[in-house]
Amino acid sequence: MNVQQIIDTLKLKVLTENKDFSSIQPTFGYSSDLLSCVMAGAPKQGIWVTLQAHGNIVAVAALLELTAIIITEGAMPDENTIQKANDEGVTLLSTSASTFNVIGQLWEMGLRNP
């Protein structure tokens, strides 16, 4: 499964610069809104689902080389955060759906085992 398929199936809005998302494959998924948990628990090159949209999510994603952050419940990062994400090569995706629904859909698509 690649990030382009995830964007299409979940109808996600791409907030950062376009890339060849079809060539990027997440290893697995993780969800928490506590950054310290994410740093300890998220798999490298995984996809992270959170409703946090502040600038520090980018630092965590860059550190873990996450393939993308899906920001849920319509939370919107500010321009600086999007800029920082572009600088760091971090992909930010947005949806009005809840974290629970997003994870459910990812699971159904087959993102189940690392």
Binding site: D33, L34, L35, S36, M39, A40, Q52, H54, G55, N56, A59, V60
Partner: protein, 219 residues
């Protein structure tokens, strides 16, 4: 006064409605009151925001109110939220739920407090619940220049430094998250020209003959 306290900051959770009463009650006592707030940021990090004047804290509250989720408090679950007068008598109940997070990020809170001329100190930074370091896991860029961090009451400054090396070079204060007079730690000592936010900032940086020390006889 019996505890030897000269400086007092009132920092209720996302709230400021009781500060004026404390200032009134302290009049003539020699205790200086700093109006403040313990803001819960969107990251669920607690930030102490201290000011000189009621005007500043009122502006702060107006901005914070705009960023609260607008939930009603349920006293059965979350306790009462009373506003009282300078003698401690009941004036009204605060109906909105103060326990929630503001939608202000740490960065936005830093900017707001600095624009208003206040001083921002991350609260109980080592505490699991709502402390900066366990919640974020690091000191974010927007706080990297922030000189002062508050540590919780159950840890010594030495131990906090061992556990969180990120704190080295920071000035640590310890206020104890005090909710009752009997809980006062009274370990923060300042040398100031006069009680003001500017003077506190000088003292925290040991500038111009002002200084600050933490004295922990019991830890």
């Amino acid at each position: 006064m019996d505890l030897g306290i000269n400086l007092l900051a009132i920092t209720d959770h996302n709230a400021t409605a009781n500060i004026e009463a404390v200032i009134k009650a302290a009049r003539g006592s020699g205790i200086h009151i700093f109006p403040g707030m313990e803001l819960q940021s969107h990251e669920e990090v607690h930030l102490l925001c201290l000011f000189d004047s009621l005007d500043q804290i009122r502006s702060m509250q107006i901005q914070v109110d705009k960023t609260m989720p607008g939930l009603q408090n349920n006293p059965d679950y979350f306790g009462e939220q009373f506003v009282v007068d300078s003698t401690g008598d009941f004036i009204r109940r605060e109906e909105s739920m103060l326990l929630a997070s503001s939608s202000l990020s740490i960065k936005q809170a830093c900017d707001l407090v600095s624009d208003l001329g206040g001083l921002l100190i991350p609260a109980h930074v080592n505490r699991k619940a709502f402390g900066l370091l366990p919640t974020l896991g690091f000191i974010p860029e927007e706080l990297s220049c922030n000189q002062v961090m508050e540590i919780s009451r159950h840890i010594s400054a030495e131990k906090a430094l061992l556990e969180y090396p990120q704190l080295s070079g920071k000035t640590l204060i310890q206020s104890g998250d005090v909710h009752r007079l009997s809980e006062f730690l009274g370990v923060n000592y300042f040398h100031l020209e006069k009680p003001s936010i500017h003077e506190l900032s000088l003292a925290f940086s040991n500038l111009d003959g002002r200084d600050f020390a933490i004295n922990q006889p019991n830890l």
